[in-house]
């Protein structure tokens, strides 16, 4: 049981990655597809936070606790913040493309957007 819990967050991370990909591959709507991309990204959040966690440690903010108190890794939090910003903005870009796809190609189904072939 202990071993199971030790690995659970990472297992969930792998699951999110694969299930997000599944969503993308089977998607029939661009907005849905882009949201599935967000699911894939969520996997990386979980992985980063998971590797930086220290059992029994507090948050790395030394206002109420003195310096030297065991605290979790601040670097992974910073990395994850970067990751979130990347996600939000790249999704905005892709959603803008999705709007234009509807506008100009008249469809948001990836199957019908096959304008470029062979």
């Amino acid at each position: 049981m202990h071993e199971f819990l030790r690995m659970l967050p990472f297992g969930v991370s792998a699951w999110l990655f694969v299930v997000g990909l599944y969503g993308i591959v089977t998607s029939r709507h661009l907005v849905h597809l882009i949201m599935c991309l967000v699911v894939v990204q969520t996997s990386t959040y979980l992985l980063l936070l998971g590797v930086g966690f220290k059992a029994g440690a507090t948050a790395p903010i030394f206002v109420d606790v003195p310096v030297g108190t065991p605290a979790v890794d601040p670097v992974t939090h910073a990395l994850m913040l970067t990751d979130i910003v990347v996600e939000a903005t790249v999704m905005a870009l892709l959603l803008a493309l999705a709007i234009q796809a509807k506008e100009h190609a008249g469809s948001v189904d990836p199957e019908e957007l096959r304008i470029l072939r062979g």
Binding site: L21, I24, L48, D73, V90, L97, P110, L116, R117
Partner: protein, 605 residues
């Protein structure tokens, strides 16, 4: 000077980009052009200076002045060696060329184009110079964000939207793969500095290291367009504006491969050393498949930009081959081949852009015979096709001969035939297009070719009878450099030494973390070039022959000699796979990661 110079190739273009965005609505177009060109020129100058200064000692620059404490890196570093600085300089140079080319090219653009181009360039410079693996990811994403937007620039058509979406979705997944790999490495070593991760991993080679290596490699190989991650490239290049294509094909895809090489030689080399033979076999196989698939697909195209795009895929396969040899002297050859190819390919895209400006089309069949008066265009196309075929005197030729001699040291001499094959077929495709467009040769359009998806794109300019000098000069300049680089004194030796430094993991760690001196390397004496000259000439001749055959097959005495139909039928499944559907592409991407992972796991476990 070393307190500020190393950071400026990133800081200056980003600052100018923000400035241009701030005055977006009020600035004169010409002033914006001037500022953007000045920024690109500055980056070029700074990168060359950095390249020269790092020739004896790498420049290790800690952002914010955060030097390592007891060998633990706490900040982000640029670790500048001639190899990385050279790539940054090449990125800046191509951006400069693309900006000059677009002076007369776009009819109506605000400063948004300049802003995105500058951000793109700053990201590419940072990507080449950084010594921190997460910073590599950040610049990868910055590069991608700018590239997606630039790719979809022509929003009034549906093609660019579809192309940019395919590009965006596949490359974003690639970035997540790389980030997952970085997360795994961080979980093991608690470090993000490449030198420190490498030192901390030492020679451990368990599943985690292999998984991290495969995930990061696959992530960057998506950008490098290696089969089966390559599908986005044909779509994105076919629809992006011409100046953007110059950057995409000339440097951006190559940087994907650079990242794989960088992480291998700084982080994973010691761990994977025991499995060098297997790693080599896997990468070389992927390279061979990519080179062949790219070449065949290239020959089957009629839309010029798409044709050039597949030729890029083929040449990326060759570059992966060169890296995958993991031979001591291969990186120098790779660098020269990369430069030679980037210059020739950039010029080819410009030549296609000139056709689009002049004649309003990039469809080889529709353009048949319409370029008869444009002598300079014909000369340009033919000379550039010679460059693709690796004819003696071009940078590609020198690079190939160096890679060949490196291949012999690891008993992979046969890869020179793959180089020849890719060179022959991709050059033949360009020869064929030039023969048809400028000389009117070959059979005309027939019924079966009418319905082939999108084969053309609309003008990017108002066009006109004359071609402005700002379009022609950049193309000839690139061509000239592709030839002149071979004759720079000591060029081969210097690049070879830079490549050897790139591949020295122990020295990299010591230099980055402990200010150690660069050990002395010795270039190999130049080998006799005669066999390479014969090989290059044969490739060129065969390229011409294949092109001639494709154009004049209908006039052959016996119709049994015309197996173009058979070729077309054999190629049909391959073309079907390139379906334009991003769901397919993502399925292939997953397959590719599983395949690479499975192979590495099998060999190493």
């Amino acid at each position: 000077m070393n307190t500020f110079l190393p950071a400026t190739p990133v800081a200056v273009p980003l600052t100018i980009a923000a400035l241009l965005a701030a005055v977006n609505q009020h600035i004169n177009r010409r002033l914006a052009d001037l500022l953007a060109i000045a920024a690109a020129g500055y980056c070029l100058w700074a990168s060359i200076l950095l390249m020269l200064r790092s020739s004896h000692m790498p420049i290790v620059y800690w952002m914010g002045g955060w030097e390592p404490r007891n060998g633990v890196a706490i900040g982000i570093s640029f670790v500048i060696d001639p190899f990385g600085a050279g790539l940054a300089g090449f990125a800046a140079f191509l951006t400069l060329i693309a900006l000059i080319f677009s002076l007369q090219y776009f009819d109506s653009i605000g400063t948004l184009f300049h802003v995105l181009m500058l951000a793109f360039m700053g990201a590419m410079c940072g990507f080449s110079l950084t010594g921190d693996v997460f910073n590599l990811f950040v610049f990868f994403e910055l590069m991608s964000a700018a590239a997606f937007a630039l790719c979809g620039y022509k929003t009034e058509e549906s093609g660019p939207i579809a192309g940019a979406l395919n590009f965006g979705v596949t490359n974003t997944i690639g970035a997540f793969l790389a980030l997952s790999g970085i997360g795994l490495l961080y979980g093991r070593t608690g470090a993000l500095n490449m030198a420190q991760i490498g030192k901390s991993l030492g020679q451990t080679h368990d599943g985690l290291v292999v998984t991290a290596f495969v995930l990061i490699s696959c992530g960057f190989l998506v950008k490098a367009a290696i089969v089966p991650f390559h599908f986005w490239l044909g779509d994105a290049h076919a629809v992006a504006p011409t100046p953007v294509c110059v950057l995409f094909s000339g440097i951006m895809v190559e940087l994907g491969l650079y990242a794989v090489a960088r992480i291998y030689w700084t982080i994973f080399h010691a761990s994977m050393a025991q499995f060098e033979a297997q790693t080599r076999a896997i990468f070389v196989t992927a390279g061979v498949i990519t080179a062949i698939v790219g070449a065949l697909m290239c020959f089957a195209q009629r839309q010029l930009k798409r044709l050039l795009a597949y030729s890029t895929i083929s040449h990326m396969g060759l570059l992966l081959l060169a890296f995958g040899l993991l031979a001591p002297r291969a990186m120098g050859g790779l660098a020269i081949y990369l430069l030679g190819h980037g210059l020739v390919k950039g010029a080819l895209f410009i030549a296609a852009g000139i056709l689009l400006h002049h004649l309003g089309s990039v469809d080889e069949l529709k353009l048949q015979g319409r370029g008869r008066e444009a002598t300079s265009g014909a000369i340009l196309f033919l000379l550039l096709a010679l460059g693709l075929s690796g004819a003696p005197g071009y940078g590609t030729f020198l690079g190939e001969s160096m890679v060949d001699s490196a291949a012999e040291t690891v008993h992979y001499a046969w890869i020179s035939y793959i180089f020849m094959f890719a060179a022959i077929i991709t050059a033949a495709a360009v020869f064929r297009a030039a023969g048809r467009i400028y000389f009117g040769w070959g059979p005309g359009i027939d019924q079966s070719q009418e319905e082939e998806g999108e084969t053309d794109e609309s003008r990017e300019t108002t066009g006109g009878p004359s071609v402005p000098l700002t379009m022609v000069i950049p193309a000839f300049l690139l061509l000239l450099l592709a030839i002149a680089m071979v004759f720079v004194p000591q060029f081969r030796e210097k690049v070879e030494l830079a490549g050897m430094r790139f591949q020295d993991q122990a020295a990299y760690q010591a230099e980055t973390l402990f200010h150690a001196e660069v050990p002395a390397y010795h270039a190999q004496p130049s080998e006799p070039l005669l066999p390479s000259i014969i090989r290059g000439s044969v490739s060129t001749l065969l390229g011409l022959l294949v092109a001639g055959y494709a154009l004049f097959r209908k006039r052959l005495p016996s119709k049994y000699l015309d197996f173009s139909g058979g070729f077309g039928r054999a190629l049909k499944p391959l073309r079907m796979i390139h379906s334009g559907n991003m769901c397919d592409y993502v399925a292939w991407l997953t397959f590719g990661v599983a395949l690479f992972g499975g192979l590495f796991a099998l060999f190493i476990h």
